[in-house]
Amino acid sequence: MSVRQSLLAILDQGPCYGYQLRTEFDRRTGSTWPLNVGQIYNTLDRLARDGLVEKLEASDASPDATSQIYFRITDAGRSEVAGWLGSPVERTAATRDELAIKLAIAVTLPGVDIARVIQVQRAATLRNLQELTKTKNATGDPETSENLAWLLIVDSLIFQAEAEVRWLDHSEARLARAAATGHAAPLPLGTEIPKRGRPTKVVPA
């Protein structure tokens, strides 16, 4: 989970307290992924449990001894950060994309105007894309690191929206071909009644 590693990577720059970490995370991600303080403290507790950070005595962290509890990264934490930055983000488990599931189900139902479903979605996604582009256009070239980080996130959202539109175009063409060849008939309910309970074990012969 990248919140854990993100916080750890920020702590690699020096000890922080919970609310400070939230602020640091926000300014580095353009506040596009708001975290609540409770989430931060839960994560810090788990990081401490796993030996990746340690709590500091108030006097160690700051000479004016505020009541904040500071956390400091450990050597194990540093190597976790290095490992995170040096490895790809794995997206192994097929994400249950809500839209893909919706189209997949819709295409098997009788009386659904699937072309309309696609059009409505595409128009909504394009609108979203227009808003993102407007936001980006209003910003111009990044002048600060915060700005640059935020633009990277906006770009990522733009490319995701674009990919969705392309996938919708592709699906539309695929459906048209399937309809032309008679392979787009709705699926009636199966006649075989599925058995309840766990599937029976198949014993190899």
Partner: protein
Amino acid sequence: MSTVDGKSDVLLQLNGISMQYGKGETAVTALSGVDLTVHAGELVAIMGASGSGKSTLLTIAGGLTTPTSGEVIVEGQWLSTASPAGIAALRRRTLGFVFQDFNLIPALSAIENVMLPLDLDGWKRRKARSAAMDALRSVELESRANHYPDELSGGQQQRIAIARAVVGTRRIILADEPTGALDSATGEVVLRMLRKRVDAGAGGILVTHDARHAAWADRIVFLRDGRVVDESVGHSVDTLLAPVAQP
């Protein structure tokens, strides 16, 4: 037939445009009853798969192709009643094309390329030069005025083409996949320039198959099989659900 929109800032209006190639059983319909209005300060993107009719629509809007039926009105002038010479003059004075492959003349410098439509229109050289310089400044390339196309990057060449499209009194930009030959980041710079020109009072049609580029427009019109199937406006949901226009 529809009349010109009452608003004075309508730059381009297409009413009930249909385009058919061939006759009888072998006839192919490229466009079917398409309506489109472009106001000053507005960029309209036209999207659609290959063969959806988007490029045909652009050439009709620019008076390069005569539609089978329907009316094109450019800055208040009906193209159907204009002579070929009249249409050519209209093209020189009111609208400019931007193509995927830039279409600059290699033997002319950047500023001479931009001046070309003004030269053809009989402008005095000094006045044309000054107008061309203004156009180059608007795409932030005044420092490259005396460079030749082969001394410029693809992105810079396309910005020169945009300057040419809007030089002098020209206010309508018709762009056909203007970023098609450019990498993603350079394409974005070109779109930003196009957007800037439009925000300064021009009007434009941007034909693209790329949603990321279409998103720079105020409106996105989606064509399928020669018909408008979707129209997406950045801020209004109502128009989205308007019934599909029937011919």
